[in-house]
Amino acid sequence: MKISKIFLKGLYDNNPTFRLMLGLCPVLAVSTSVHNAIGMGTAVIFVLVSSNLIVSLIRKIIPHKIRIPIFVIIIATFVTIVDLLMAGFSPALHKSLGLFIPLIVVNCIILGRIETFASKNNAILSIVDGLGMGFGFMFALVIIATFREILGYGTWFGMQLLGQHFQPVILMILPPGAFITIGLLMGFLNWIEHRHIHKHLTYK
C-alpha cells in the first residue's frame, strides 16, 4: 500500500512539472515532438532511479557536510552513461536532444529527490520514488508534446493525424508555443482543482 502511494504521489499529487514546477527547462525545450519527449523521459527516469538507488545504499556513510558534491558526482556519472549510450545507439535522438542531455545533471528534480527522499529512505522505496517522479516527468512531457506536435506538425508520434489540408501552426513548435502550452495546461489543472475543492465544500 505504501509503495503504490509513493509511486502515485510522484505521478500526480506531486507531479514535478505541473505541481512542484521543477526542472522546467527540458520540458519546454524538448517537447516539440512525442518522440523526443519519450527519449528525454527515459533518460531522466534512468538517471533518477539509478542515482536514487546508489545514494540510498550509501546514505549512512556520506558525511553530512559534503553530501551535495557527492550527490552531484553520482548524478553526473549516470548522465555521462546515458549520454554515451544514446550517442551510440540512437544518434538521431542524441542530436535532437543535444545540450539537454548533459544538462540533466543540473535538473532540480534529481538533486531534489535525492536530498529529500533517497538520503533518508531505503533502497526499494527510493527506487519506487524515482520511478514515480520519473514517470510523472515523462507523463507531463508527453502531454505537452502531444499538443505541440499535433498542432505544429499535424502528426502524433510520427503518425499523420490531420489530413493534407491541415495548415500547421508553426508557432507551436517555436519557443513561444512551449510557454503558452505549459501556461494553459497549468491553468487548466488549477481550474480542475478549484472546482474539485468547491464541490467538496458545498456538498459535504
Partner: protein, 212 residues
C-alpha cells in the same frame, strides 16, 4: 581577433538566441525569482558574473586537461610526453559541474572578503547558481561552438546580460500583474508562462536581424 566577430556573438547571445526566450535555459529562477525588480537585478548580476567566470575556467580546463593533444597538461607533466595523449573529453560533464560548484563556492568566499557590500547584495543568490542550468549550459555551448578563449568569455558575459534582461523585463511586468484581476486559476505561474510566451514571440522578431 577582430571586434566584429565578438560583437556578432554578443548581439546573438543577448537578443537572437536569448537564454530564456529561445534556448529555455534558466527557467526556474525566471519563474521563481522574478517577482520583485530588486531581487531580479541581483540574481541577474550574480549569474552574469559566474557565467563569464565559468566560461573562461571551463574553456581552459577543457582545452588543457581533457582534449587529447600535445598541449595536454596531464600528457606533458604527468606522463612526461611518453606514449599517446589521453582523450578525456568524455569526462566533460563530470568535470564541468565540479569546476562550477567549486568556482561558485570560491567566488562567494572572495566576494565576502573583498567587498562585504557586494556580498550582501549577491550573497543569497550565489548558492542557487550551482544548480542553475545557464552556467553549465553556456560552458557546454562554448565548447560545442568551438569558440576560442576571448569568444568564450564574451559569450558567457553576453548570455548573462541576456538572462538579466529577460529577468528584469519579467519582474517589471509581474509587479504590475499582481494588481490585476485575472481568472483565479491562472494566477501565479500559469499567467507568467503565457506572458513569457508573448515576450518570446517578441524576441522572435530579432531572428530577422542580419549581422556580419
Amino acid at each position: 581577433m577582430d571586434i566584429q566577430s565578438l560583437l556578432i556573438i554578443a548581439v546573438g547571445s543577448i537578443f537572437i538566441s536569448n537564454f530564456v526566450f529561445a534556448r529555455f535555459l534558466g527557467i526556474c529562477p525566471y519563474i521563481g525569482v522574478s517577482q520583485k525588480l530588486d531581487s531580479a537585478f541581483g540574481m541577474g548580476m550574480a549569474v552574469s558574473f559566474v557565467m563569464s567566470m565559468a566560461s573562461v575556467v571551463t574553456w581552459v580546463i577543457y582545452h588543457y586537461f581533457l582534449v587529447a593533444g600535445s598541449t595536454n597538461v596531464i600528457f606533458r607533466f604527468i606522463m612526461k610526453g611518453q606514449g599517446s595523449p589521453p582523450d578525456l573529453t568524455y569526462l566533460r560533464t563530470v568535470t564541468f559541474i565540479l569546476v562550477i560548484a567549486s568556482l561558485v563556492q570560491f567566488v562567494e568566499m572572495v566576494i565576502q572578503k573583498i567587498s562585504p557590500g557586494l556580498y550582501k547584495a549577491l550573497g543569497i543568490y550565489l548558492p542557487l547558481i550551482t544548480t542553475n542550468c545557464t552556467v553549465l549550459g553556456v560552458s557546454i555551448l562554448n565548447i560545442d561552438a568551438s569558440y576560442n578563449f576571448i569568444q568564450s568569455f564574451i559569450n558567457g558575459l553576453a548570455s548573462g546580460i541576456g538572462f538579466t534582461l529577460a529577468l528584469i523585463l519579467m519582474a517589471g511586468l509581474r509587479e504590475k500583474l499582481e494588481l490585476t484581476n485575472g481568472p483565479r486559476a491562472m494566477k501565479g505561474a500559469p499567467i507568467a508562462f503565457i506572458l513569457a510566451g508573448s515576450m518570446s514571440l517578441a524576441f522572435l522578431g530579432f531572428t530577422g536581424l542580419k549581422i556580419g
